[in-house]
């Protein structure tokens, strides 16, 4: 793609700018038209609203497609392509370069958001005269307009770069090392941005005063979908970290990870507490507050990770996007709180929790714990910013803070995961608890015994294994009862799908406990022909060989494990950046992974190399758990056998319930 010399801008730049300005204008018009038509009851104007959503969606899609085209056709007239594009980067990583830096990730956000808005418009196009739907779409238009503005103005995604540039460095070398960079960000964004939909309906419910259970029924699948995408996206990020970064870990509590984890925590609390409102009409303020918090935290997270504030708090003054995001965050909080205060009288619960030993009592406890967890993570994440702003001291909050607090919180959540599914609504008797917890308790005891017999000796891990078994037993019991009564339908529906999700989460928790507590590490200077032994395995360096591509060169050590297949940890030097990137090599197994990294090697043909060996127990089960979470979420989105009528009174006395009816 060549530049248009007279104006100093490329065709891609002109097309991109045009798409963004069209999207901004149509989103604003959509919000105004729909809002005005709803207030005055103008049905003719109301019917034009879908056109704005289609136009905004197409504009966002064109903007993203234009940027992708610019990257793939090496249009170095654009600043962003100069920053992340490269002629020598393979196609796969050039595609991923689209979201490898600020401008592209804003475009990805925008395209996802406009897509959601267009889809919601299509889904509800015949119900636009319903004020709840109309106001929800107004909110979505407003959020979409804000991101069009951010992309067009402060970020200036399609800015023209310096003249005469014919090649660029390509994306960060760490983003050129694994295929997961293709999937992790888009899936994460589908979750992150997806929470805009239930947030929009929550605000619409407050505006219209319809704060009962109707809006929940409209949004429950959207919330579930967003939560599922966010969960899988976070887990894929952990997998990428494991496969690429060479420290054998999946989670380091860095601010970017925390930014995605915070809305996940509040979102998880919401998808549990919403059941209490649907069932008993309680926790209305709480549910709306959780959705507001979830959406606000996505904006705060975007501010933290995209404004430059993470590198230095002084970027507040220089950053162009930061103040806007912070301002938008403030607007969300103030408007939402004002609306909640305005509708306070209607948000009061018609009843109270009868007993803490009940399903709703357990959900409340679950919510308190998730909220505490979110508070702890938020505090740790913003604490350095607060200290730097107030005292001009640059500090970091270490991993021990998060580990110390997340461990007991995680254990309590595992306990609740075991107990809550077997509790009935309203109250439980001792006999009933004894009966329903017997099998899960046995499974927990067996899990504990197996752990001890396998050599586990650290008490936090042992408690995690025991509680994991307890919770898995409870989820398994629910699924067995459900499938016995309903056949294959016992695996679908929110309650049963939820139990499959629980099993996935338990697997992840157990894998984390095992790998955090029992990873063994050793570093060896391996010599060709001289095997070394570690943790019951032998490792033999076969050779050190060189490799080279157009963009990089490097060394890899061929290391045979137990006299069998050779694995090849490598160090790659990206020549344009002069950066060395280690690439681990992993032998994966059901009981443990053997993870090799090349720490030092001098030259091809060398007879020795420094290799680090990590023995990671049960790590594979983390990815299997992630797959179960995804499958369970999909199954939970299907209607179960007995679907409640959305208009049924929710505050009425609840008849005695078969034990598997709800999560």
């Amino acid at each position: 793609m060549t530049g248009v010399g007279m104006v100093g801008a490329s065709v891609n730049g002109i097309l991109g700018h045009s798409a963004l300005i069209i999207g901004l204008v149509t989103s604003l018009f959509g919000a105004i038209a729909l809002g005005y038509a709803t207030v005055v009851g103008d049905r003719r104007l109301l019917r034009t609203a879908p056109n704005y959503a289609w136009l905004a969606g197409v504009a966002a899609l064109i903007a993203a497609a234009v940027m992708m085209n610019a990257i793939l056709t090496y249009d170095f007239d654009l600043q962003y392509v100069q920053d992340v594009g490269s002629r020598s980067t393979p196609l796969l990583f050039n595609v991923a370069a689209m979201w490898s830096a600020l401008e592209g990730s804003i475009l990805l956000w925008l395209a996802t958001l406009a897509g959601y808005t267009a889809f919601i418009m299509w889904r509800y196009r015949k119900r636009l005269d319903d004020p709840l739907i109309a106001w929800a779409l107004v909110v979505m238009f407003v959020v979409t307009a804000f991101f069009f503005f951010i992309a067009f103005g402060p970020t200036d995604v399609f800015a023209t770069g310096a003249p005469g540039v014919n090649d660029g460095p390509g994306p960060n070398p760490l983003l050129q090392n694994h295929i997961l960079v293709m999937f992790h960000p888009p899936i994460l964004y589908l979750g992150y941005v997806g929470f805009t939909v239930p947030f929009a309906f929550a605000i619409a419910a407050l505006i219209t005063g319809r704060v009962g259970e109707g809006w929940l029924m409209e949004t429950r699948r959207w919330a579930l979908l967003a939560w599922g995408f966010l969960s899988v996206g976070i887990l894929l990020g952990g997998w990428w970290s494991y496969e690429v970064l060479g420290w054998s870990g999946v989670w380091a509590w860095d601010p970017v990870e925390n930014a995605s984890f915070l809305p996940w925590l509040t979102g998880t609390a919401y998808i549990h507490s919403v059941l209490v409102q649907e069932r008993r009409g309680m926790l209305r303020v709480w549910n709306i507050s959780l959705l507001v918090a979830t959406f606000a935290l996505t904006i705060l997270g975007t501010f933290l990770t995209r404004s430059g504030v993470i590198n230095s708090v002084h970027a507040f003054a220089d950053g162009s996007i930061g103040p806007w995001l912070l301002g938008f965050f403030g607007v969300i909080v103030v408007v939402s709180l004002s609306l909640i205060a305005w509708r306070g009288d209607r948000l009061r619960s018609p009843g109270a929790i009868d007993s803490p030993i009940s399903r709703e009592g357990a959900f409340l406890a679950n919510n308190v714990i998730f909220t505490v967890f979110a508070f702890v993570v938020l505090l740790g994440t913003v604490f350095p910013l607060i200290i730097e702003a107030l005292q001009d001291r640059r500090i970091a909050v270490g991993q021990p803070f998060f580990d110390r607090l997340s461990m007991p919180i995680g254990l309590v959540l595992l306990f609740l995961m075991a107990v809550a599914p077997v509790l009935p609504w309203r109250k439980a008797s001792t006999e009933l608890l004894r009966d329903r917890l017997f099998v899960p308790g046995c499974v927990g005891a067996i899990a504990l015994a197996v752990a001890v017999a396998s050599g586990a000796d650290k008490w936090p891990s042992l408690i995690a294994f025991g509680l994991g078994g307890f919770a898995a037993g409870a989820a398994g019991r629910q699924l067995v009862l459900a499938t016995r009564r309903q056949g294959w339908r016992g695996l679908v529906g929110r309650a049963n799908g939820g139990m499959i999700v629980h099993r996935g989460i338990i697997l992840i928790a157990v894998a984390l406990a095992a790998s955090n507590g029992y990873t063994r590490v050793a570093e060896f200077t391996m010599k060709v022909g001289e095997p070394v032994a570690f943790d019951g395995h032998t490792f033999e360096l076969l050779e050190v060989e060189a490799f080279s591509t157009e963009r990089s060169d490097g060394l890899k050590a061929q290391v045979s494990i137990d006299g069998g297949q050779a694995y090849a940890p490598a160090i790659t030097r990206f020549t344009q950046m002069g950066t060395d990137i280690g690439t681990p090599s992993v032998k994966t197994g059901f009981t443990k992974d053997i993870y090799l990294t090349l720490e030092k090697a001098t030259e091809a043909g060398a007879t020795e190399a420094q290799v680090k060996v990590f023995i990671k127990p049960l790590i594979l089960w983390m990815w299997i758990g992630g797959a179960l979470v995804a499958i369970g979420t999909v199954l939970a989105a299907f209607p179960g056998k007995r679907r409640r009528n959305p208009t049924a009174p929710t505050s009425a006395p609840v008849p005695t319930e078969p034990e598997t009816a709800h999560v």
Binding site: G212, E213, F383, I395
Partner: protein, 258 residues
Amino acid sequence: MGPDELARLEEERRFLLRSITDLEREYEAGDVDDDDYRTLMDGYTARAAAVMRTIDEGRAALPAKRRTRPTVVAGWVVGVLALAVLSGWLVARSSGQRVAGQTLTGGQPADEVAVALTEARALLGTDLAGAFDRFRRVTELEPDNAEALTYTAWILVQNTRFTEDADLIQTSLDAAVDTFERVVADDPGYADAHCLYAVTAARFLPEPDLELAAEQGQLCLDSNPPAGMLGLVQDFVEGLEASTDDTRPDATVADSAP
């Protein structure tokens, strides 16, 4: 009456009141005759009145604001305060100086090791206890870290100068010598361990082992010690070679170790 039903009635009230306004406008414009106007107006008014009455009843039936028991409120306040204090104390305790390139929070263990080592080096000349804590943190994260082990041992040795408790001195020196032995065996190319072990053997052991000191001093020189240490160690080794049975080497190198 639930809030959704109440909102529906309010929407109906808005519609009826707007219809009355529209009807009056049309009547004034002469588009509606008197009879139709009266019939329609009576209908709308009656419906609006009925709806407004139902709304009032519905509002009255909304759950009243419940009084929360003071003990419950106090419990929540105490809980929130306890959480705030505990997490504030922990976050302050878990924070430290941020060095260039380090992330705001968390990070890989290797990053934490690098930060702790940086801090420990900076504290070595001014705050031995602080430096010791950092080096110990490194050995928790990387039990075989040669630098942290070496300087942990060296600080133990240094501390013997500030106590007259013979048992404590002996325990510290034993622990230090064991650590030096471990490091020079595991990482023979690490010069600092040889240098500091040599100084310890010559100057701090109750019965100086000059042969060991000379051997470790030479290994230090052979291992390319840091530039700042090189000249001092050379003088130290030469002093050892020149020393007679009761001569002890110059103490300068011990005082100027990093």
